[in-house]
Amino acid sequence: MAVLGSAPRLALRRVLTSPLLAIALLGGLTLVLLAQRRPEWALVTVAAASGVSLSGST
């Protein structure tokens, strides 16, 4: 991080703290579990995604 200027650092922090990134990662994991035909575990990861989806009302 120290080698990055302030603008790239801000941009990186903005990406890492994006609520869309959080739900995309959890959504991706959920879809992988669904593709492996493990819906009972996909339900558990989608529960976390459901919590993230409410980020607008924190």
């Binding site: 609520p19 339900l43 919590g51 924190t58």
Partner: protein
């Protein structure tokens, strides 16, 4: 009261805010697990079959469609904010209680259909009690991601970005939950 802003305004710097967030996550996970336990106990009252899975999937897809059609989700909920009095016994105890009430859904605003879809799935799909509790724990943990991001971002971009993306986030949560319900029902059938 808004948890993200309360954490950011805790006054002890980012390290202190993150320590408070850890207490908040614990409360959210406890609250989510408590609600999940109640749902699991209700779900144990009837046998789970392909029929209950199909009914759950149909309701889940209907709820997701509803979320995409309406501009604002208006489903049964308490619509109650956490009062500032929870911090009378100190910030640590306050955030724990805040988390429990917030994570259990006792006091919150639900702006997405996804938690309702989750409840329908836990009631209708052949899910073990352990998985039900895990779902509750992770739902609570998921609710803590936004406040953590607010603390880490330490600028106004987070709230602006969230403001632009919040409705999309809410709908994505519903679409994901409905896709799990649909796949689970199809897996039960075949």
């Amino acid at each position: 009261m808004n948890s993200a802003w309360t954490l950011r305004a805790s006054g002890g710097g980012r390290g202190y805010a993150i320590r408070l967030w850890l207490v908040f996550v614990a409360g959210l996970a406890i609250g989510g697990a408590l609600s999940a336990t109640a749902i699991g106990l209700v779900a144990a009252l009837w046998p789970h079959s392909a029929v209950s899975a199909v009914i759950a999937a149909a309701i889940a897809v209907s709820l997701a469609i509803y979320d995409f059609v309406v501009s604002k989700v208006d489903l049964p909920q308490r619509r109650s904010l956490i009062p500032q009095e929870v911090f009378l016994r100190g910030r640590g105890a306050g955030f724990l209680r805040f988390g429990i009430e917030f994570g259990s859904g006792m006091r919150t605003f639900v702006t997405s259909a996804s938690p309702y879809i989750l409840i329908v799935m836990l009631l209708g799909l052949p899910v073990s009690f352990l998985q039900t509790i895990l779902a509750g724990l992770l739902f609570g943990a998921g609710r803590s991601i936004g406040p953590l991001q607010a603390v880490i971002s330490d600028n106004d971009y987070w709230s602006r970005d969230l403001g632009r993306a919040s409705r999309l986030l809410e709908r994505l949560g519903s679409a994901l939950a409905a896709s799990v319900a649909l796949t689970a029902a199809l897996t039960t059938l075949w």
